[in-house]
């Protein structure tokens, strides 16, 4: 990780900020300080413009027409697929299935791969720090198949208990699904090592890339992962954009997920055959404009360079952690910025995170408070909820200062008299 930072160029954050119209907004009379990019990122004008241009110039249904608009829309949609493939290092655009994001992608894998592969007595391995979107689909799958779901523990410092891997990842494990970057703790697990271990045990490795893909350079071939999910809305793209990378042989073996128009080859009253991958998994009218918008987001990130994105976040995370600790906050997860993400969960002066978020909002500072869709992890951490500040390419050290100032306001308000 440290290597990334060394040869990285600094982002021109002022210029970046100028691309995000919403950052000129005021909240309660204060300039918006948006520290909630782990929930969803803001969108640059280039992405918004791509949507406008699609709807004003090229809007049509994809893969259905021989008319000019239809061909343009198809070319833009398939062009977006090639861009996303290149962005994650996929060898072939056919390995990219488009859909709404990580949640739909994991449901797709659980349904189309899991139901085919799992039998009673088999196991799905998760970790203790998964998002509900990487838990519930497996729970439902386990109920449907008689398989069992297990959870690799985390250590005190918020990293995975890798010493226990051998006893959790066994010949019974058919699927190992793990976050590439924890949305609560910021932890970045050693994916290549997990992939090797999974493969040695005869399991596939599914990576929840919701937080990973927006924040780190990713190469599915280097990492040797079998599935990787992408949430477009967390990487400057529109809501309802994103998809799933899958190893081609696996995608080809899999059953369809949803049925409908376009995912078929031939349909008879009582049977049907399926289209080639990836279209086998794309039923009905897709999120065409959204994926075209995501392509613009990928262009934007590509121009910045993902190594530089990462270096910027590492710097701002280091500064934020220092100031938060100084201010008396308790931080959950690894404390070394070079091995973690810029999503910082904390607990401050025994003020309930909900109260904290409300007070901060009055000061213009948007953070997230709650269980972050990770209720079981909250129980492990021994708190009902945490406050979370998270950073992206448009955040500045001044905004960290604004966060700290706002925390002081909350402290004064809630100080026990």
């Amino acid at each position: 990780m440290a290597r990334v930072a060394e040869h990285a160029a600094a982002l021109d954050v002022e210029r970046i900020r100028a691309d995000f119209p919403i950052l000129r907004r005021e909240v309660h009379g204060r300039p918006l300080v948006y520290l909630n990019s782990a929930a969803t990122t803001q969108k640059p004008r280039q992405v918004i413009q791509a949507l406008v241009e699609f709807y004003e110039q090229h809007n049509a249904n994809a893969h259905r027409g021989v008319d000019t608009l239809g061909e343009e829309a198809t070319a833009l949609f398939e062009g977006a697929r090639a861009k996303l493939a290149a962005f994650v290092g996929a060898p072939d655009p056919a390995c990219i299935v488009f859909n709404r994001g990580t949640t739909e992608s994991i449901n797709l894998v659980a349904h189309a791969y899991g139901r085919k592969v799992l039998k009673e007595g088999d196991e799905v391995l998760l970790t203790q720090m998964e998002h509900h979107s990487n838990m519930i689909p497996w729970l439902l799958l386990a109920q449907a198949t008689g398989a069992t779901v297990r959870h690799l523990p985390i250590r005190e410092d918020g990293t995975l208990e890798l010493d226990a891997l051998g006893s959790f990842l066994t010949h019974r494990t058919k699927i190992f699904s793990v976050t590439g970057m924890s949305n609560v703790l910021g932890t970045i697990p050693p994916l290549r090592r997990l992939a090797d271990a999974a493969h040695a045990a005869g399991a596939v490795l599914v990576v929840d890339g919701a937080q990973l893909v927006p924040h780190l350079p990713v190469d599915v071939v280097d990492l040797d992962v079998d599935f990787l999910t992408v949430s477009g809305h967390k990487m400057l793209g529109p809501t309802a954009s994103g998809g799933l990378y899958g190893r081609r042989e696996l995608l080809e073996q899999m059953d369809p997920f949803m049925g409908g128009g376009e995912m078929i080859r031939e349909v008879y009253w009582d049977r049907a055959t399926w289209a080639d991958v990836p279209w086998k998994f794309e039923a009905g009218t897709m999120n065409i404009a959204q994926e075209v918008g995501l392509a613009a987001a990928i262009d934007y990130l590509g121009a910045l360079g993902m190594e530089n994105v990462r270096a910027h976040e590492e710097r701002i995370t280091a500064y934020a952690m220092e100031r938060l600790l100084d201010a008396g906050a308790r931080i959950f997860g690894p404390t070394d910025p070079s091995v973690r993400s810029g999503a910082i969960s904390f607990w401050f002066k025994d003020i309930h995170p909900h109260d904290l978020a409300t007070v901060l909002d009055q000061e213009g500072v948007a953070i997230r408070a709650g269980h972050h869709c990770a209720q079981p992890l909250m129980r492990v951490l021994g708190v009902p909820a945490t406050a979370r500040a998270s950073f992206y390419i448009y955040n500045t050290p001044d905004e960290v200062d604004a966060l700290i100032d706002a925390l002081r306001v909350a402290e004064r308000l809630f100080r026990t008299a």
Binding site: D355, G370, F414
Partner: protein, 149 residues
Amino acid sequence: MALEQLYQEVILDHYKNPRGKRAVPGAELSCSRNNPLCGDEITIYAHLEDGAVADLGFEGSGCSISIASASMLVEAATGRPLNEAQDVAVRFRAMMAGSVEPDEDTFGDLVSLTGVRKYPARIKCAVLAWDVFQEALSGAGDATGDAPH
């Protein structure tokens, strides 16, 4: 200023010194519920005598609004006949929804919670204890999936 209107003294006081924050010995009615947005959880215990709420208490963890509201609930409902207590709950919810005007005589300290109305996401915090209370009174607490875990 807006913050002081939300976090009025009386709210912070109930939050820091909650009334009736304890399990009630011999409570016939109890019910637990969480706020799925934030994970807050409140359990209400009620002991009835002669058709009245003889003793009332709560346990749980939550933000200042949900704890203060629970504490005020204990004050407002303890000692009341069942139907009156139920009525307060109904009217409190109406006040939080904006369909009933706050009135100090009826609502006492509860009036201070109307500041929450401007924060839609926090209204759930203010009514959490009341949800649980109403469920406990209806005896429905055991039948639903929301029993204490």
